[in-house]
Structure formats: structure tokens, C-alpha cells
């Protein structure tokens, strides 16, 4: 069984999901971790390079992290190779010439087990195969990107508030804010908590629609689907569309002043109370807890 992992890098570091998949692939068969190199590579450029190599290497299963870029490249590559593609897998096993995966459908309202014949391509959610502590850095084969006719990178426009944080889809801890936070000013406190936790920032649709936070932070249907270890929902009531995007988180904490809020129905821990009273106290308590107090 030949397995490829398409590696992705953030800055100089391999993404965590790439390491997770490398470790997983090593347990499944003969694994190769491949990275397409080049500045701002388009999906078509990456897929062209990978497809060329795949024709000689003939991997049975190609895995990519289900990050925006990983999904993009995996889909284009699968189309180029005319292979089955299974996206956003939460789990997968190889059985009798097929790959069987667990994944969400209908915006997370249904959990599906699907099967595709090998050879196939799959993208896998971050955190699906948690990395053991102290796992070795995988060996990475680097290949240059192929051509992508008709498309060139022009420039990068940073979001005013963006940058510096863990990406939402990959984060193991997410601190997410809703309308209950009353205005963009509240995010100073949210960020203080996120800093202590090393967390990514999320938001409900109401918040991104109101322009308090950039769209890329939206969690839920029409936003991002996330599966962190810890999801902290502050002042989020829990609309069905928001729940669809975060109910697969391992531990959910909800803080809301409305005891009837739907978010409490999915929460493992909840505090009914004033989020502005909660935030500073919780931030201090987390700091203390992490320090071993």
C-alpha cells in the first residue's frame, strides 16, 4: 500500500495536520510526504507537479490536510488523475481495496460513512489523528510546482486584524464570540483569553455580518467547520447553522446569560451568566491553571 501525504507549510514550519497525516500514513503502509515548493503556488500548478509524479509513483491513496489549500489541491489533483476524492474525513481506514471514511454531510447535520475504490484522494480534518507528543519531524520530499497557465499571483492584502494567530480550521483551541459580546470593543478581552490559551479566534455569523470581525473568522454553515479539542463559545446563542460548524469539537464550553440558549444543549461545560464578568476571571484562572496552581 503506497500512501502519499501532501504536506503544507505555514511560514517555515510544517503544518500540524501535515505532521498528523505523516504519522498516520506511516502506520498504514509505505508512506511518502511530498511538498510542492514555490511562492504562492496555484492549485493547478501544484496538481500538475503532483500528477506528473503520481503517474510514475502510482500511490494508492493520496492524503492532504483538509485546510482550504489542501482541499483545493486535493480536488484538482483527483480530477486530473480521474480518481475518487473524499473530502474532510474525520476518520479513515483502508479495507479490501477501498478507503472507508467518516465525514460530515449536510453541513454537519449528518454523519456519513462512505467508501471509495482505491486509488483515491482524500483530505483529512486537522485533529482527526492527534499527534503523539514528541513525534519525529517527517522526512519531506520536495518537488517544484508545475505550470499554471492563465493565472498569476498579484499581491497579498492582509486583513487589518488578521495575522499572528493559529488558523481557525487547524486550531486545537478556539475562542469564539457572538452577538452577546455587544460590539467589536469586546474582542480586546476575547483576544486576551485567546493569547493565554494559544487559541484561534472564531465568531458567529451575526458578528461577521455586523462587521465586528472579518468573514474568515466565521464558524458554521457558510463559514468554517471546526473540530478543535476545546471550543469556547462566548455570548453565542447557538443557531442551528452555527452548531453545524462546531458540534464535532471535543469539548465545548458555553457562556451565555440566557439559560435557554441552544448552545447549552451541546455544551460539555456551561456558565449561565454575564460574559463580561466571566472573561477576565476566566482568563486569570486559565493562566493560573496552566501555571499549575
Amino acid at each position: 500500500m503506497k500512501i502519499w501525504v501532501i504536506a503544507e507549510r505555514k511560514g517555515s514550519e510544517l503544518r500540524r495536520v501535515s505532521k498528523e497525516l505523516a504519522a498516520k500514513a506511516a502506520t498504514m503502509g509505505d508512506s511518502t510526504v511530498i511538498e510542492v515548493t514555490g511562492e504562492r503556488v496555484s492549485a493547478a500548478g501544484a496538481a500538475a507537479a503532483l500528477a506528473q509524479r503520481a503517474t510514475t509513483d502510482a500511490p494508492d491513496l493520496i492524503l492532504a490536510g483538509a485546510t482550504p489549500s489542501g482541499r483545493d489541491i486535493a480536488a484538482r489533483l483527483a480530477a486530473k488523475l480521474q480518481r475518487a476524492y473524499v473530502s474532510e474525513c474525520a476518520d479513515l481506514v483502508i479495507a479490501g481495496g477501498t478507503v472507508e471514511a467518516t465525514r460530515g454531510m449536510y453541513a454537519g447535520k449528518v454523519r456519513a460513512r462512505v467508501r471509495a475504490a482505491l486509488p483515491a484522494v482524500a483530505s483529512v480534518r486537522p485533529n482527526a489523528f492527534p499527534l503523539a507528543d514528541g513525534a519525529a519531524e517527517p522526512a519531506v520530499t520536495r518537488i517544484p510546482a508545475g505550470d499554471s497557465p492563465g493565472l498569476t499571483f498579484v499581491r497579498f492584502e492582509p486583513t487589518a486584524s488578521g495575522g499572528g494567530r493559529v488558523s481557525l480550521s487547524e486550531a486545537r483551541v478556539i475562542v469564539s464570540g457572538g452577538r452577546g459580546l455587544k460590539g467589536p470593543e469586546a474582542w480586546a478581552q476575547v483576544e486576551a483569553l485567546a493569547d493565554v490559551l494559544g487559541a484561534a479566534l472564531g465568531a458567529s455569523r451575526a458578528v461577521t455580518d455586523a462587521g465586528w470581525r472579518p468573514n474568515e473568522e466565521q464558524v458554521g454553515q457558510t463559514g468554517k467547520t471546526v473540530t478543535p479539542d476545546l471550543y469556547i463559545a462566548l455570548g453565542i446563542s447557538g443557531a442551528i447553522q452555527h452548531l453545524a460548524g462546531m458540534t464535532s469539537s471535543k469539548v465545548i464550553v458555553a457562556v451565555n446569560k440566557d439559560p435557554d440558549a441552544d448552545i447549552f444543549k451541546v455544551a460539555d461545560y456551561g456558565v449561565v451568566g454575564d460574559v463580561f464578568e466571566f472573561l477576565p476571571a476566566f482568563t486569570a484562572a486559565v493562566k493560573a491553571a496552566k501555571a499549575g496552581a
Binding site: K10, A43, A44, A47, D72, R76, A78, A79, K80, Q82, R83, A84, Y85, E88, R103, G104, M105, Y106, A107, K109, V110, R111, A112, R113, V114, R115, A117, G150, L151, T152, F153, V154, R155, F156, E157, G162, G164, N215, E216, Q221, T222, L230, Q241, S248, V251, P259, F264, V266, A267, D268, Y269, G270, V271, V272, G273, F278, A281, F282, V286, A289
Partner: protein, 284 residues
Amino acid sequence: MRLLVCVKQVPDSTTRVKVAPDGTSIVTDGVTWSISPYDEYAIELALEHKDTAADTVVSVITVGGPRTKDALRQALAMGCDDATLVTGDGADALGPLGIANALKSAIDALEPDIVLCGKQASDDDQGFVGPALAEALGWPHVAQVTRFEVVHPGPASPAPGEPQSSEVVRPGPASPAPGEPQSTEIWKEVEGGHEVWKASGNAVLTVQKSEKDPRYPSLPGIMKAKKKEIPERALAGVDDPVKIEIVQLEPPPARGGGKIFKDGDTTAHAAELAKLLRDEAKVL
């Protein structure tokens, strides 16, 4: 400029999805069907372009059974100029590559400059058709698109024409540009900001979101869409090489029964919670 938006009809996002007794499909009884949310954003992006450039023609297309015509009417009501239904036996059962191939043959006839799709359909949530269509067409694609602007319009596009028959008749092939070819700047949402890419010709965009909500149709729009003839293209002979088999569907694991602190001092609860997260849930 001709824009083509590919849409899929899916259970509306407000619908409660129930797994059918067979365990591999959902109960369709009582389901409200609408255009997949990302496809609606794609329509909105296309129509916003039409709002600023009046000579834009926005077409919409879907692959599916008779019911999917409603999705096309919805798109027409929003302001799309014309619609095409690719249909035939097995249209609802095509795999993503099959759909891409079916769309490709229609696109060869419709000759749009830019094709827009939602980044994924909110039923299977695969996100495969867009990139697969670009691959089939041999065009570049940009994912996670939130905005696009035509930097150079290229040749003037023909006026919107009423399709005369079930075969889509183009008012004339797009002639090659006299000077600089059409080029488009495309905003792709990435971590921490947007990458701006430039397509120097045709391209497929898979849309993340439009800045504005998809527009609510005007009543004249709804009435016009009701009367509009929707030409059909036959599906016959489309290559559908790979399939994904659904082994089982089930509702997501039930949650709840969590520890909820209700009354009393929020500050004390916060401290208690931090300890629980560390010692009980072990996530700190």
C-alpha cells in the same frame, strides 16, 4: 462579459435533515429545496458585477432532475438572465466528475468568460465539482473567492438573447479581443487576508462568500422568472468515471448533559471551570 454560475439544489439550510430508514439516504418528504448557500453567494457576486457593468450577461446552469428547475427559477428571479437545465435519466445520481463533464459540454456551447461555483454544495460538502470542472475545461481556478473585478473587459459581449429553442443558441461566438485580452483580478480568502490573483482569460471561481447577502428577488423578477422558458440539454453519454458509495448515514452523536453552572457567582464559576478543563477534560 458572460458569467455562468453553476448551482446545485440542496435541502435548505433551515431544514432538519433526517436519515431515511434505509440508512443511506435522507428523508426528502417535507424538505424545502433551495440553492446551496455558497452557490447563492456565487450568484450574488455575478449579479453585483452585472450591477456595475450593464453589458454583463449572467447565466445559470444546473445538472439534475425536473425538481431542480425550481432552483433555476430562483436564480432567474434574483436577476440572472437565462438558465439551462442539464437533465436526463440518472441526472440526480451523477458523481462529481460526471457532473463536471456534463457541465463542460454545456459550457463548450455557452462559451462563458468566467464560471462561478460555490466552494462546495451543502449536501455532500465535497467541494469537488468546481476544481474538477476547471480541470475538465483546462482552465485555471481560484478557490475561496470573495470578490472579483474585471481589469480589462476584452471584447464587448453580445447582448442577452432569449434562447429560441431547447438548444441554447448563442447570439454569436465571442470574437477574439482586438487588443489586450480580458483579464480578471480575483480575491481569494486565506489566513490573515486575501491573495489577489489575476486570470488572463477564462477561469473557474469557487466562491466562499459575497460581501452582501444574496439578494431577495423583486416581485417583477419572480413573475418574469415564472414565465421564462428554461432550455434543457440532454445528459446522454456523459462519462462518470468514479463514484463514492454511501455505506451509512446517521445523525451526529448526541451531545449535551454537560455541567452547567446556573446561579451564583460568575467569577467563582470561571475559576472552577478552568480547573475542570485542566483536570477533568484535560484540554488545557
